[in-house]
């Protein structure tokens, strides 16, 4: 019995200098995609973008700063959904954390006299995380339809409770006054811009942190969970820990988003937790895809733009357009608009 030559097993030329695949050649020219230069570029451009938006905001008309504020604060909730999607589950109930964050901020303002905008944003995030915490271990065991339905049910329970709680204004909700920043009251003329600034900064910071998280070892393991949970467990990784953590992080982002929304809107009501609200956040997440953080905010802005203009000019067809748009997305761009500028990973490069 002969032992065939080892060469029979090789798929590509055996000598390294023949450069195997084009991808390898390219990566050799550009250097191994190392962490420092690439990550520095991404984070740097992120910070630059935040600064540019802050400066540009000073020159924008009020309706635009408001629109972008809403896009950013809502985008945070969708960012949380993308976080979960990277682990393979879709939450249909992020309205829950959105509402908890909003109510927490509004209550802190009204009842505790706590008025700092940044502080309120943090309050919203922390409150939502605390509410999500007892459910994280439970939810980490669910997938597919059941995860979606359980999150949906939880948000609807919250809705039901909020509607019937007259102390919180029942189905009308209640109003919130104007936040302050670093102890300074915000004058009428500038309050919109300042809240815009706070929102952009908060959303921007969380977006950058999300990017770092996606690229981290935990982020990579999350992606692996989506691909093959069984193998992750057999490699010694904890799937449940990864999923729980993602749920908590998504809650924090959503809660911040809720708080920031309330501050600019000046009002909160139980609809924050209604399933159609959650549906819109999911819509944005699907539109964005799960590869690019920036895409989430671009998609969120797109939705706000469509919403504003439609309700002005086409009040009876904007949902129609959204629906058709979503269908086209699902059919033709299933990885979301983020896939338009992120390499689909043929090199196996970053996601």
């Amino acid at each position: 019995m002969t032992t065939p030559s080892l060469r029979a097993l090789r798929v590509a030329p055996s000598t390294p200098s023949e450069g195997a695949t084009p991808e390898d050649r390219r990566s050799r020219i550009l250097g191994v995609p190392g962490p420092s230069p690439r990550r520095g570029v991404v984070l740097g451009s992120g910070v630059l973008l935040i600064v540019v938006l802050l400066v540009a905001g000073a020159f924008m008309p009020k309706w635009l700063t408001f629109l972008l504020t809403m896009a950013a604060s809502h985008g945070l909730v969708s960012l949380g959904i993308v976080l979960l999607m990277r682990g393979g589950v879709v939450s249909f109930g992020q309205g829950l954390v959105f509402a908890v964050g909003g109510y927490a901020a509004a209550l802190a303002f009204n009842r505790l006299g706590f008025t700092d905008a940044l502080g309120l944003a943090l309050t919203g995030g922390v409150a939502a995380t605390l509410v999500a915490a007892p459910f994280a271990p439970l939810l980490s065991r669910y997938r597919g339809i059941f995860f979606a339905m359980l999150t949906l049910a939880m948000s609807m329970v919250a809705y039901g409770v909020l509607v019937k709680t007259s102390a919180l204004g029942g189905s009308d909700g209640f109003n919130m006054g104007r936040a302050t920043l670093f102890g300074q009251a915000l004058p009428d003329a500038r309050s919109g811009y300042v809240l815009y600034g706070v929102t952009i900064v908060c959303a921007g910071v969380l977006a950058l942190l999300a990017r770092v998280y996606f690229d981290s070892t935990r982020g990579l393991v999350t992606q692996a969970v989506r691909e093959n949970e069984l193998r992750v467990e057999y490699l010694g990784g904890s799937v449940r820990q990864a999923m729980s953590l993602n749920f908590l992080l998504a809650a924090f982002a959503g809660g911040c988003g809720g708080a920031l929304t309330v501050m600019s809107l000046g009002h909160i009501d139980p609809n924050f937790s209604y399933w159609t609200t959650s549906g819109e956040f999911v819509f944005v997440a699907i539109l964005a895809g799960w590869q690019s953080v920036l895409a989430v905010f671009v998609a969120s802005t797109l939705l706000e733009v469509v919403r504003s203009f439609s309700s002005l000019y086409f009040p009876n067809t904007w949902q129609l357009s959204l629906g058709i748009f979503l269908l086209l997305m699902i059919r033709f761009l299933p990885d979301g608009i983020g896939s338009l500028w992120v390499d689909r990973g043929r090199k196996g490069a970053r996601r």
């Binding site: 981290s216 093959n228 010694g236």
Partner: protein
């Protein structure tokens, strides 16, 4: 058998039934550090059940499994992995949408001490360790390719390479050469055994190809109907009547089990 060497794994009195089917009955196996043991037997004989009980996927109805002095019988698969047991799969369990390098990085991360929120997955030291392992398995040239694009033999090697990232004390290979064409089997096992060569690792591999078994096993354990019918060096085990009758098929099977 394994005289003089320290016993790493001791399975005693293992019993397992699935309804009326006896998957394991009275199994007593000791595996020494660094031993290469092949598990043979026809389909349904109980080899895979045995492997699954060691890795914690199944729990025996009776008996105990002790790894390096620690009872692992009732532990979860993840805990057992963390104690130094790793396995590969008959159908490679990979992260198909990710690249070969990323698969290795995930394996390293999962086996690692602390996962990071901050440190990028592609830290130089992690990439270096991944590359070193890929090199040992002749997979370096595929490092950027997506798993979905890889042929079967390469996937199997990757599957095994990932199992090694945790530097296990005990490696279980589930039919490492199955699904691999005849002329690739030996080169593949060469690569695997060579890559394992330096380790003080015990290896249990389930195998159907007797040539592979003869060449690479220090010891052969033969299963039939949930029982062990032979446990000896390949030369002795493969010549035994019962093994020839119930496993390799080179003796007629209508005589009763001796």
């Amino acid at each position: 058998m394994s005289a003089g060497r320290e016993i790493l794994l001791r399975a005693s009195g293992i019993e397992k039934r699935f309804g009326a089917v006896v998957a394991a009955s009275g199994l007593d196996v000791g595996v020494a550090v660094g031993e290469r043991v092949s598990l043979i037997g026809s389909n349904g004989a109980g080899k895979t059940t045995f492997v699954n009980m060691i890795t914690g996927y199944l729990k025996p109805d009776a008996g105990s499994i002790v790894l390096g002095g620690r009872d692992i019988t009732r532990l979860a698969p993840r805990a057992i992995t963390r104690l130094g047991v790793a396995r590969s799969f008959q159908i490679p369990q990979l992260f198909t949408g990710m690249s070969v390098l990323e698969n290795m990085l995930v394996a390293l991360a999962c086996h690692g001490e602390r996962l990071s929120f901050w440190r990028t997955a592609r830290q130089a030291d992690a990439v270096a360790r991944a590359d070193a392992l890929l090199e040992r398995f002749n997979l370096a040239e595929h490092r950027q390719r997506r798993v979905a694009e890889l042929p079967g033999g390469v996937r199997k090697l990757l599957d095994i390479a990932m199992a090694l990232t945790g530097e296990p004390r005990l490696l279980l290979l589930d039919e490492p050469t199955s699904g691999v064409s005849a002329e690739e089997k030996f080169p593949m096992m060469e690569i695997v055994m060579r890559a394992l060569g330096q380790e003080r690792m015990a290896v249990l591999f389930v195998e159907h190809d007797m040539d592979i078994v003869e060449r690479y096993a220090d010891r052969v354990i033969a299963f039939y109907a949930g029982r062990i019918i032979a446990d000896a060096a390949p030369g002795v085990a493969l010549a035994a009547d019962d093994v020839r009758r119930y496993v390799t098929g080179t003796l007629r099977a209508d005589a009763p089990l001796s």
